[in-house]
Amino acid sequence: MATKKAKSAAPAGDRANAPQRILGMFKTMCLIREFEEAAHQSYVDGFSAGSIHQSIGQEAVAVGVCTNMRPTDMIHSNHRGHGHAIAKGADVTAMMKELFGRVGGTSGGKGGSMHIADFSVGMLGANGILADGVTMGVGAAQAVSIKGEDRIVGVFVGDGTTNRGPFYEGLNWAKVYHLPLLIICEDNGYASSTVTKVITAGGGPAVRARAFDIPAVTVDGNDLLAVDQAAGELIAKIRNGEGPQFLHALTYRNKGHISRDQLKYRAPGETEEKWKTEPIGRIESWLAENGIPAAELSGARAEAKARIAAAWEAAKAAPHPDPKNAFTDIQDNGAPHHG
């Protein structure tokens, strides 16, 4: 799709000899892209419902960060959580079943897209309430600290979310208790239909983090190598006991805020122009320039497509949950029930 692509920086330092490693990340990014396209289609076709938030264009952030995490590390996500889940290792078939609301879904169909979660890989949940992931992530990190465990916690927030109070409370708290926490601000320029800059004072997310003495790095979030590099360094610092760190990743949401968003609030041509900087094409070029055969790259794309197609078919074929499951996983649901 991309005709003219932005260039990616060469990987720095000890990560330089890493084309194979980057190739793995490329594959995950392709998987996210295909999943998101399918997620949207599932809404259009009436298999899923509610609000579907795609992360097309933001794949490098999810993957660049989560690659540097271990399975035992934990992440808290937000409403736009599919990519984070896949990057952290969630199974795309179980995720697709969840979107379809079927048996075998990651949450048995109880959560759907906005609450995608896979605790088995440390993905502690997408979330429909902005900024709550920050305070919960802080708490998860505090649990780690109390138990003396060797793991870290990552929290993904959007740029618009940095104007909610709990975001700041969380920054202060994380620093005060010197918690093993990485906060990643995925700055895609928009808060729903509003340009975030217009409603945001001062120098932005990184400046705000630094006001709490939390080291903050801003990167081109569409440059996988840059994200990988920065996340790797920040996470190393956290593991080294240096306390919370902040990653500000500049990116772009190429699709609507939710599936039914017509993007009427954007200037004509903006979306198309921005497509030139989308991260998958960029890293694909870099991989090609760094010795990965074209066939392997197109093969990776095809494989992602195939895996998602299979997930789609599996989801479509999966049974709907027994209605009685509505009354499980809850403390005491009162009486009487109808039905």
Partner: protein, 328 residues
Amino acid sequence: MAEMMFSDAVRDALAEEMRRDRTVWCLGEDLTTAGGSTSASQYDGLVEEFGAKRVVNTPISENTIMGAAVGAAVAGTRPVADLRSCDFGMCAADELVNQAAKIRYMFGGQARVPLVVRQAIGVRRGLAAQHCQSNEAWWVHVPGLVVITPATAADGKGLLKAAIRCDDPVVFMEHKELWGAKGEVPSGDHVVPIGKASVLRKGKDLTMVAWSKMALDAKAAADELAKSGIDVEVIDLRTVWPWDKEAVFASVRKTGRVLIPQEAVQTGGFGAELAATIAEELHDVLKAPVKRLGAPRTPMPYAKPLEDMVRITPAHVAAAAKAMMGKA
């Protein structure tokens, strides 16, 4: 009279009030761009007419949307703050309860707090646990708040106008599924008094008392029940605080039977207040125990078969009414 969508009717109400009174203004997230990502037209065209000072697109800062509305109300304006849904409204419960509701009283009448806060309620297919709540019962429990729950486009318009003119804080709870619904709306300065119920259907066997979308569902159930010879009176409260005791009591005195269907969780829902009041004060006229029908004490699940178990439909309402009439 003109047929229009609920969301158009409430937009007209706001526009008319903003024209009438220069101190009326509105604020909320994505207000000036909302058409972009939602289907509701509640604010279409307002910023063009009234400018960005009075149609304020806010940061994602629920505490401040609510707190600023309180401060601005006390300082001589009439803000209409939109928290988009009562689920997000929980992020600003403090400012609503500890400030908006108490200022007039706590300061001995030195100030009034003429604000409206919009908090949409209700189940919308697939929105799941964090976007489908109906917590009108919370605000009814809070001294100082008026709580409005319109069901029709006409009432949406007339009650929003009344809410804006009210000198006390009003929680205005629109049902998400109603925005797209159409209805006849009287033209001109249509104002519906706060605290007056409307009778959606006359009947003699049983009274259904409901509010918001459930009032329409109750009406649908009643129309269905008529086919089985059960003649139901349906009261749409329109305002849950203050609620129209006179209208409800008159109906119950006539029918002797009450069913209170509600979309909210039954346990601790507003229906409990109604039921307890009726049971206490009309004990002697009741031919059957007051019956509530509300959602189980369960978060809203996502998958359709599960959601269908947790939401209350006209069919459930009809079944409960039949059971009360001994025709189950």
